[in-house]
Each structure stands twice: as C-alpha cells, then as structure tokens.
C-alpha cells in the first residue's frame, strides 16, 4: 500500500508543476503582447529620426562629429542583452555564444555591457571582466531604461573608452524562430547611411539651422536610444517566446507523465482490490471449512477443502 501512496504523491507533484509551467506560459504571452504594443507606439518617432539623420548626413557638405567618423578600433564596446532567468531553452546560450565569438576576435579589448542577470552570472563564472556599475534587468523594457543605457554608451564612446559600439541581441525571425544579431551601432558611418533607401529619397538640398553637425549630434542620442529600446523589446519578445516554447514542451511532458502515472496507479489500485477480495474470500472459505470439520468425518475433510 505504501507504493500506492507514493505514486499518488508523485501525481500531485507533477500536477502542481504543470500548473506552474502553464501559468508561466500564460504570463509570458501576456508580457509579450504588452511589450510589443509599447514598442509600436514609439515607431513613428524613431523610424523618422533615423531617416532624417541619414538625409541630413548625406546632404551636408561636411560633418565634424566623432559619432559619424570611423576611428581605429582598439577597444570595442559590446552591449549584450540576455535574460534575467533561465528556463527559456537555448535563448541565453545563443546570445552568449555570439558574445564569446566577438570577444575571441579582440581578446582583452572588449568592454562588455551586460543586460540581464543570466549574462552577468555567466561572465562572472567564466572570469570575463564586464562593466560592474552597468546594472539593468531584461524585464519590462522601458524607454527610460533604454535612454540611460544609451547615455552611458555615448558617454564612454565620447570619452574614448571604446571606439565602436556593438549590440548583440535576439530578434524574432518569424513567429517561431529567433536569431541572434550582432550590429554595429556607432560610429554611424557613411556606408550604413544608404542601406535600404532609394537614391533620390536621400539626396536633397536643405538649409541647416544652426548647422548640420549640431543637428546630427542632437538627434543621434535619440537614434541610439530608439535602437537600444527596439533591441531590448525584440530580445524580450524572443525570450518570452523561447520561454513559452519551453513551457509548452514542459506542459506536454507533464501531460504524458501524468497519463503514464495514472495508468500505473489504476493498475496498482486494481491489484490491491483483487488482493483484498482474494483475502476476504480465502478467509470466508477457511471459516466454512472450520464449520464443516465439526460435522463431517475427519477422513473426508481434506477432500472437501480442495
């Protein structure tokens, strides 16, 4: 009987785990929707900002800004966006692999700005130095958080601590699969300006007030913030999606396990019942035999009992 009780406990615990994984699935999908909606609202501003920066740059005769000219890269700054927690399949692993590849390209000359607790723990464990005072969670990406990150990166770039800024983040390729992207954000050089535009869309004559350089330097932080915000939300979406997949797999496994356990439990219960019936009927038989023994000839008794 102890075995049956054990099995029953096991079924209850699997049921409870399934409740948790199911809740995590639902939470993930709600969070995903909310983050997407927030991002959607910011699109008109940031998309236009990027376009205008390109147009200003291409129509300006001269731009004297460190943000728009390439300089020899001695140290590269990498913003690596990971999740705060695991339980999201290969999501964190893929991002960290891309970060490791970038570090391998410039050993000892990469400054890491890590978003997310998982990534920080990983680099700590592997004794890879990263920016300690840089402390942002991957949960609930906000424009405000993106602004602070952007400000910090621009400041380090201006101070010459880093000569380029890269962002390593995840993006949804389609509804199911996500990919890791490694994008250079700064300097924003000429070869990046023309991507995805028709030539006559970009080359226009403008009068600049006060000057193209001032305008570009004013709008660049907005572009950087917008990009970082987009990357945070895309990564967050990919994370939630990975977690939803992991959780729905867990749900399916729990379902299967529960089925198996239930069958086993039913068998055991049936076996216990059969045994009880056997015992009861054996007991009744013994009683009957006893009664018969009193009346019948002792010589026949063995025959009767068989």
């Amino acid at each position: 009987m102890g075995n049956v009780k054990e099995l029953k406990n096991r079924i209850t615990s699997v049921r409870n785990t399934r409740k948790i994984t199911n809740a995590m699935y639902l939470i993930s999908s709600a969070k995903l929707r909310k983050a997407r909606e927030e991002l959607e609202k910011t699109r008109p501003y940031f998309e236009n900002t990027e376009t205008e920066i390109r147009k200003i740059f291409l129509s300006a005769a001269r731009v004297d800004s460190e943000f728009f000219h390439w300089r020899p890269v001695e140290t590269s700054g990498c913003l690596v966006i990971t999740a705060d927690r695991g339980l999201a399949g290969a999501y964190n692993h893929n991002v960290l692999k891309a970060a490791e590849a970038e570090i391998a390209k410039r050993p000892g000359a990469v400054r890491l700005y890590v978003v997310g607790e998982y990534g920080r723990r990983y680099f700590k464990k592997h004794k890879t130095p990263y920016e300690g005072a840089f402390f942002y969670t991957a949960q609930d990406p906000t424009l405000r958080g993106a602004r602070e990150i952007g400000m910090r990166l621009l400041e380090d770039y201006s101070a010459g601590y880093v000569d380029e800024i890269r962002v390593i983040y995840s993006d949804m390729e389609n509804d199911v699969e996500s990919v890791v992207r490694n994008v250079r954000l700064l300097p924003f050089t000429e070869d990046m300006m023309e991507d995805g535009f028709e030539e006559d869309e970009l080359y226009r004559e403008y009068r600049f007030e006060p000057s193209a350089t001032v305008l570009l330097e004013r709008m660049l932080p907005s572009y950087v913030n917008g990009f970082i915000y987009g990357a945070l939300v895309d990564s967050f979406s990919a994370e939630q999606n990975a977690r939803m997949n992991a959780m729905s797999n867990a749900n399916r496994n729990a379902e299967e396990l529960l089925g198996d356990l239930q069958i086993e439990y039913n068998r055991m219960r049936q076996a216990a019942i059969t045994q009880e019936i056997t015992e009861v009927s054996a007991g009744a038989k013994a009683q009957r035999r006893k009664r018969k023994k009193k009346t019948a000839d002792p010589a026949d008794s063995t025959l009767v009992s068989l």
Binding site: L143, M151, P210, A212, L215, M219
Partner: protein, 138 residues
C-alpha cells in the same frame, strides 16, 4: 490661408497629424515660424513652447523638449523627445521636478548626471512657462 501637412511626433507616440496654417518652434536664437511653401530646411528645436494653427484657424500650444523640425517639399515634420499640452501638465509635479533638477545640478555628481539634470530642468521650466502663459488658469 494656405495650409501644409504637419506631423508632430514625440518619442512615445504621435502628438499631432493634420493640416496646419503655421507652426512656430523655439529655436536657438528665438522663435522660428514656418508657413506653407517654406523652403527645404532642418532646424534644431530647443526645449520651450511650440505653437501651431490648424487649418480651421485654431491655435494650440505645447511644451516640447529637444528635437528638430524638417521642411521637405512643403511637408513639415517635427520630432521631439516629449510634447505636452497645457492640460496634460500637473503643475505641482512640474514644480517639484524643477526643484529636484536644481538640487541635482548643485550636487553635480558627474558630467552625465549634470547633463541629465540640466535637460530635466529646461523641460520643467518650459512646462511651467506654458502653464503660466497659456494654461486655462487651472
């Protein structure tokens, strides 16, 4: 009066989209006004008060932060980090924030904090000015 298409976008949404007779922005050396058929221009927007007149002749005010205004073939686009109408501003909050910003500028922890505080102060000042000049005597 001639009108032109005007779009005002702030970082977390669309502030205004429609036809306008004029738009005036706070620029580096005073106000900068744009009417229909303005030449192709890009102007830096300073934190301050922007106003525009819609095609129906209605005048609207808004406090804005850093950004730019662009005129291209008669189409006018204003991109600012934040834009607010007088009725959206909470005077108490703006005053408190103004005080905080001043406090932080005095503390001057680092260059970055200083710039953040300065930007915040200018924003709050613009908000308060808008309330004072164009608020509906809230």
């Amino acid at each position: 009066m001639n009108t032109f298409p005007l779009r005002i976008y702030e970082s977390d949404g669309i502030f205004f989209e429609g036809d306008a007779q004029s738009v005036t922005i706070p620029a580096e050396d005073g106000e900068y006004a744009v009417l229909a058929a303005h030449e192709n221009t890009v102007v830096a927007v300073e934190p301050g008060i922007l106003h525009y007149v819609t095609d129906e002749g209605e005048l609207f005010y808004a406090s804005v932060s850093n950004g730019m205004l662009r005129v291209e073939d008669g189409d006018v686009l204003v991109l600012v980090e934040t834009a607010e109408r007088p009725e959206e501003i909470d005077e108490e909050r703006a005053r408190r924030k103004e005080e905080e910003a001043r406090e932080e500028m005095r503390a001057q922890k680092s260059r970055r904090d200083f710039y953040l505080a300065e930007a915040m102060l200018r924003r709050e000042l613009a908000r308060l000015k808008l309330l004072k000049d164009h608020g509906n005597n809230l």
